[in-house]
Amino acid sequence: MANLDLLSLLSSHPIDKIVQSGEIVINHPGAIAESGSGYSNFPAIRTVQSTTPNTYGRAGIIRGVYSTNGGTTWTAIDGVIPYTQQVALYVDNVFNSNIYAGAWRSQVAIGASDTTVYCRAISDLATAVFRVDLNAPSYNAVYSGWSAIAQTFIVKWWMFERE
C-alpha cells in the first residue's frame, strides 16, 4: 500500500514554509509612571519584552495572533486595541473640564534575529478615570488617581522563511 503521507507537493510556485512556531506568554503590569519636563506621574506606555531561541537559525517573517483575555478572543498580530481615558483637569485646584485621551490597551511587536525570537507586549492600561493638576507658578501637569492594570498577553506565532 502506498503511503500517502509521503506525497510531496509539487508546484510551480514557492509557498510559505513554516520553520518554527510557538507560544509566548507575557505578564504585563500595565501603564508605567513617567515624569519629564513639565509633567509628572503620567501613565505612559510600558513595553515588556520576552525572547525565545530561534531554533531554525535564520531570521524569518512571523505571523501570529494574540489574546489578552486568556484565549477567549484573538487579535491579529498587527492589531491595536485602544481605550479612552477620562482625565479631570484642575487649574489652581479648581475643576476646569474633563478631557478625553486615546490610550493603548494592547499592542504586540514580534520579530526575529538569526538566534532569537523577540516579542514585545505594549500597553498603558490604567484606571480609565483620573486627574491632572495644573497649579501656579509652574503649571506643571501632575497626574494622580490612576493605577496600572495588569494583563497577560498570550502570543501564538508561526515563522516562515523570508525568501
Binding site: I32, I45, Q107, I110, G111, I122
Partner: protein
C-alpha cells in the same frame, strides 16, 4: 489505511503562492528625517494582493514582522524610533518607514512577499 483527505489539495487555486520575482529583500534608503521614506514595487497583478512586509528597523539583526514598533519609546526594552507603513494598489506595493533619523539609520533592510491569486479588486 491511507487517509484520503490528504489528497484534498489542489495546487492551482487553493493556497497563497509566492512569486520569486515579487518577493525578497531590498534596502530602503533613508533620506529625510521625520518623514515618509518608501520604495514602490511594481507588481502589475491587476488586483490588490495579499502581502507581508518586515524590516530590520534598528540594524540589530532583528527583523520585525509587525508594522508597529513605534510605541516602544517609553520602554525599558529599548527604543525603535521608526514605524513601518505600507499600502497596495492594483499595480504597485509601497513599503516605507517614517519617523526616521538619517544619521542613525541611513539605510534599512526590508523584506516582503507578495502573494498571487487572491486579493481585492
Amino acid at each position: 489505511m491511507a487517509d484520503l483527505t490528504k489528497l484534498g489539495y489542489y495546487s492551482q487555486t487553493n493556497f497563497l503562492k509566492r512569486d520569486d520575482g515579487l518577493s525578497g529583500g531590498t534596502v530602503l534608503s533613508i533620506t529625510t528625517a521625520q518623514a515618509f521614506n518608501s520604495i514602490t514595487i511594481n507588481h502589475n497583478l491587476g488586483y490588490i494582493p495579499f502581502y507581508t512586509y518586515a524590516a530590520e528597523l534598528s540594524g540589530s539583526g532583528i527583523i520585525w514582522s509587525t508594522q508597529v514598533t513605534r510605541r516602544n519609546l517609553q520602554s525599558a526594552a529599548g527604543s525603535d524610533e521608526l514605524q513601518m507603513f505600507s499600502y497596495a494598489t492594483t499595480t504597485t506595493l509601497t513599503l516605507g518607514i517614517t519617523n526616521t533619523d538619517p544619521p542613525k539609520n541611513a539605510s534599512i533592510d526590508i523584506y516582503y512577499v507578495i502573494y498571487l491569486d487572491y486579493g481585492g479588486a
